[in-house]
Subunit: 101 residues, 2 copies
């Protein structure tokens, strides 16, 4: 997993002087799992992203964005048409939201 999110939450954890043990306990997962999430080995659940934001007093929109971006990146990273596809998806998204209004 491409890992902007993991890097960020590791950074935040350290800035808050917390151990994986402590954070893991709050998230009700074990330390190996947290380690893997920080290292990008495993994907956090959306609900856990919100908990990270709360625990670290961080902007949840920022974390959710990085979390999603990593997933998008993983999906397209090996594809030649990656950036084109991202642009197409983006315009498709904008079109749909515009229609909803």
């Amino acid at each position: 997993m491409a890992n902007q999110f993991g890097d960020k939450i590791k950074q935040l954890r350290e800035a808050n002087h917390l151990l994986q043990r402590q954070v893991a306990s709050e998230l009700e997962i074990d330390t190996p799992m947290l380690s893997k999430i920080e290292r990008g080995d495993r994907k956090a659940k959306k609900e856990q992203v919100l908990l990270f934001a709360k625990l670290y007093n961080a902007d949840k929109e920022v974390l959710l964005t990085l979390w999603l971006a990593d997933q998008v990146y993983d999906l397209v990273k090996d594809e030649e048409m990656a950036t084109d596809a991202l642009k197409v998806a983006e315009s498709q998204f904008k079109y749909k939201t515009r229609r909803k209004l």
Copy 2:
């Protein structure tokens, strides 16, 4: 599945006056499967995308782009931070490719 790709290949099939039966046979799948791919119910394999391009004499880059874009769209469609995440993923992608050179 968001369906720019399916619409496109259905359009191309009809422009080429081909039946699902015929195309499916070329792809070595059954017609229900092709129907589902055209309708966005099932995702085509990358290898099948290339076959579509060949069969319909279409630009494979275009088809691959739509095919990937649909997948990206599906991933982000229900997320509030969707467009932000796409932008972040895009810049991440550009950075990595730049580094590779």
